[in-house]
């Protein structure tokens, strides 16, 4: 990022946007568009839908500029808008019957003891290693989660929305978000376990 960009004042940009300044609109798209596309891509896993979601998000943002109160950063505001645009696309997809997440959850004997002994995992490798094979395993495992659980995991753990924000965007209760998040993490843990448990041959 060049120095003049870093110093560009967000309030000044906002004022110019509201005044309809063409350069300000170009700047908004240039500064935030790429990051918004990355968010839409990882949620939708489909390039065409991701581009559409970004375009729709900007359209909503342009219309909403007058209402933007500047209490959050522009980037945070645009992030919420593109997340919501991607969610709307997901809702319009032909919905497949969801597979149950139950087989990926831990099971217990009648006395409350776990049916298997949980061991320790290997220490996580350096974050740079995550660019490789393990990162791909994590991503493909997340893709295998039932959609309603995958969505909650993405909103909470990847997009870092809080429970209330995720509940509002999904139109479900905070409690439903918590239950789905816990199950999604448990199921992902089960899928990663064979690759990460200690003493693996």
């Amino acid at each position: 990022m060049r120095i003049e960009e870093a110093e560009f004042d967000e309030q000044e940009l906002l004022a110019k946007l509201r005044a309809g300044d063409d350069r300000a609109y170009e700047r908004l798209v240039a500064e935030h568009g790429g990051r918004m596309l990355a968010v839409a891509r990882r949620m939708l896993r489909n390039e065409e839908e991701a581009r559409d979601a970004v375009q729709e998000a900007f359209l909503l943002a342009f219309r909403g500029l007058a209402r933007f109160e500047g209490q959050s950063r522009l980037g945070t505001w645009l992030h919420r808008i593109v997340v919501n645009a991607a969610l709307m696309k997901m809702r319009h997809r032909r919905s497949r019957p969801e597979e149950s997440i139950e087989p990926l959850l831990p099971t217990f004997h009648a006395d409350g003891h776990s049916t298997i002994e949980f061991g320790q995992w290997q220490e996580l490798p350096d974050e740079r290693l995550l660019r490789g094979e393990l990162a791909e395993l994590v991503r493909s495992s997340i893709d295998r989660l039932p959609e309603s659980h995958r969505t909650v995991l993405l909103l909470r753990d990847v997009e870092e929305l809080d429970t209330a924000e995720a509940a509002e965007l999904l139109g479900v209760s905070a409690n439903a978000v918590k239950i789905r998040l816990h199950r999604a993490r448990q199921a992902l843990r089960t899928m990663l376990d064979p690759a990460l448990k200690r003493g693996r041959a």
Binding site: G34, A38, V39, L130, I142, L153
Partner: protein, 93 residues
């Protein structure tokens, strides 16, 4: 705060909450949403149960791995929007 944890079992003559209770309420525990008395019972169980400790640690590693693997795609410069897309966005004003 209503009590969430119920089921207990005896171990070495003492009463502990079960593994099932611990794993079911792990998210509540990690979000500090258990009542203090429940939190203490939770931790008493962890002191005697390496399996649940293993589960808790790998659960936290899972959360971290998920975040890094997905956000990884954001590291480095963000993708560029194709000029046609930028044009379409700007002409939708």
């Amino acid at each position: 705060m209503k009590s969430r944890i119920g089921k207990t079992a005896l171990s070495r003559g003492e009463e502990y909450i079960t593994c099932e209770e611990v794993i079911t309420h792990l998210l509540d525990y990690l979000s500090r949403e258990l009542a203090p008395v429940e939190e203490r019972e939770f931790e008493r169980h962890l002191e005697i149960c390496p399996s649940c400790v293993g589960y808790l640690k790998s659960y936290l590693q899972t959360v971290r791995l998920g975040r890094i693997a997905m956000q990884n795609e954001l590291q480095g410069p963000p993708p560029e929007l194709a000029p046609e897309l930028v044009h379409a966005i700007l002409s939708s004003r």
